[in-house]
């Protein structure tokens, strides 16, 4: 078993007394793709946002339990949150490019880091746009407003934006929900390629995608982890009835 990059221990979360995550225990292995599956509203996005501490500022949100990255508790007082977020890149479920140019979007994180050298920024922008399979479509219009891109292009743009800062954990919340089969394939290839250097967490509603690209799978149901294991095992031989029903589409 590969060493755990992220260890989640007894994590519970409530929004205004509503239990959204319930006693989550999950280890996410380093340099592997972990798929997070489960019905809509079961808490997948909320779980991801616990890992980069984006729930912190939300009103009436209570978090209990521990998350450790590289054996360090990220919720301890002395932990630098901005540093954490640079290490843990996130691609949101709804593409959220900033209303500036395509180029500015991609280099946004680097500029925050204080990178000012133009050629450095250009190189990084091109590299991440290529990785996200968007370069060829936008290379002649980098100064165009990012919100004029199509939904699928925006989705790839925010992937490029997250990649540009070179995090070591990448969380993708349904990164291919608005993509055509070709772009989806490219993103899946990218995910497979990136796991050499990144630890990847992938939320998806597409069971084929989970089966194709992930090594581990965790099945979430109403804020609880129902089953975890090697993707191979879960998809061919689920231990629980609920998992099998969900995977095969018999979820009530």
């Amino acid at each position: 078993m590969t060493p755990a990059k992220i260890e989640i221990e007894n994590l519970s979360l409530t929004f205004a007394d509503r239990q959204v995550l319930n006693q989550i225990n999950l280890n996410i292995p380093a340099n592997q793709v972990t798929a997070l599956i489960g019905a809509s509203g079961c808490g997948k996005s909320t779980l991801l946002k616990c890992i980069n501490r984006l729930n912190d500022l939300k009103p009436q949100c209570d978090i209990d339990g521990a998350i450790r990255i590289d054996h360090e508790d990220i919720y301890q007082k002395s932990y630098d949150v901005t540093d954490l977020r640079r290490k843990v890149g996130m691609v949101f479920q709804v593409p959220n490019p900033f209303p500036t140019s395509i180029y500015e979007n991609v280099v946004f994180g680097l500029k925050l880091l204080g990178v000012r050298k133009r050629h450095h920024l250009h190189e990084a922008a091109e590299k991440s746009l290529r990785q996200a399979a968007l370069w060829d479509e936008v290379k002649d219009q980098l100064n165009q407003n990012a919100l004029q891109l199509s939904g699928g292009q925006q989705q790839r743009l925010v992937i490029a934006r997250a990649l540009a800062v070179e995090p070591n954990i990448l969380m993708l919340d349904e990164p291919a929900s608005a993509l055509d089969p070709i772009s989806t394939l490219k993103i899946e290839e990218l995910i497979t390629e990136l796991k050499q250097t990144y630890t990847i967490l992938l939320v998806t509603h597409n069971m084929h995608q989970a089966a194709r690209v992930s090594d581990f799978t965790a099945f979430l149901d109403q804020g609880r982890i129902m089953e975890t294991g090697q993707t191979r095992d879960i998809f061919t031989n689920p231990r629980r009835k609920a998992t099998e029903d969900y995977i095969t589409g018999r979820y009530a």
């Binding site: 709804v94 959220n96 925050l112 925010v158 997250a162």
Partner: protein, 336 residues
């Protein structure tokens, strides 16, 4: 059909009644506004129209307007131009903008971005919103007591003790006029900015934080730039209100006749301690207080015309700036 020009055809007779009732009310409003503009416009312009001869009337007409705008009044304001009053009004409004914009915007930022939202912030917000409804003369009284006597008095004791007992800042003057105006219009700017901040999609904020931005980086790089159209709306409303205020200002530095302009070639060029003239007060003074009675009414109309035009122009400039910014950010409203 004229009726169809303005309204969709109503379905029932009851709708018909409401159409006619509301339509005629609108007509009354429009007539009142139109006659106001017409009266001021015609009366004001006829003041400039040369009364004699027909030689080059247009040239002389514009020449008269030019003189009126650039000359100082003579004979107890009863003749001559209105330049000092016009200049004073513009100066105090611009200075007020300089005060109210940063104070208002930063207060709004604190209130909606940094403060914990609880009953204290709610109470504070209600207090600020209600400040907008306080009669303006109350601000004048406050300005006189707090700014002129307390603040100005302390400044004199600390920095200008040589010239005491003759006050330097402890007396009505431009700076206190502008600060009183700023206080008066502060709620407008705060409310507009808060409104704008609350309309920035949550997605932009979390997207920005997720890339490792601190909260202030998020504010400066994403949230505040997107809020500029809303802020400007607030500042426009503030300017529109400020340019029309007269009563409170008479207490803190606006006078009937000032010997010098607040800006001149003498160091320090901008004289914050000087009394200033104001178009609104000028009109009031001529219309109500002049010994010449109704003889000066043409000047009153002409000055009113200038005041209306000035307010319209200030508003127009701000609207044009805002439209420009809107165009730059036009896509952010389309975000899902």
């Amino acid at each position: 059909m004229l009726k169809n020009l303005f309204a969709r055809q109503p379905y029932t007779t009851q709708d018909q009644h409401w159409l006619w009732l509301s339509g005629s009310m609108l007509l009354i409003c429009m007539l009142l506004v139109a006659s106001l503009l017409f009266l001021i416009g015609v009366q004001g312009l006829s003041f400039f129209w040369p009364s004699d001869g027909d030689e080059a009337v247009w040239t002389r007409f514009f020449h008269n307007i030019g003189l009126f705008l650039t000359q100082a009044p003579t004979d107890h304001n009863q003749s001559g131009g209105i330049f000092p009053a016009l200049f004073g009004t513009v100066t105090m409004v611009l200075l007020m903008t300089l005060f109210v914009t940063p104070i208002g915007v930063l207060s709004a930022v604190y209130l909606s971005e940094f403060a914990t939202q609880n009953s204290v912030t709610r109470l504070l917000r209600i207090a600020i919103y209600n400040l907008a409804g306080v009669p303006s003369i109350v601000f004048g009284v406050f300005g006189l007591i707090f700014f002129v006597y307390i603040l100005g008095g302390s400044i004199d004791q600390l920095f200008f003790s040589d010239s005491l007992p003759a006050p330097t800042y402890g007396t009505p003057g431009l700076i206190w006029v502008s600060l009183t105006l700023a206080l008066l219009t502060l709620p407008v700017v705060i409310v507009a900015t808060e409104e704008g901040l609350s309309r920035i999609p949550e997605d932009y904020r979390s997207g920005c934080l997720a890339l490792g931005a601190t909260q202030s980086e998020m504010l400066w790089k994403v949230v505040l730039p997107l809020t500029t159209p809303a802020m400007l709306t607030g500042v426009i409303l503030a300017i529109a209100r400020a340019a029309g205020e007269v009563a409170p200002l008479m207490l803190v530095g606006v006078v009937r006749s000032a010997p010098e302009l607040p800006i001149d070639s003498q160091f320090p060029f901008l004289h914050l301690d000087r009394n200033v003239m104001h178009l609104g007060y000028h009109i009031f003074d001529l219309g109500m207080q002049s010994p010449a009675g109704s003889d000066v009414m043409p000047i009153v109309f002409a000055a009113s015309l200038v005041l209306i035009t000035l307010v319209l122009m200030l508003n127009l400039t701000a609207i044009i700036i805002r439209q420009g910014l809107r165009r730059r950010f036009q896509h952010y409203n389309q975000h899902p």
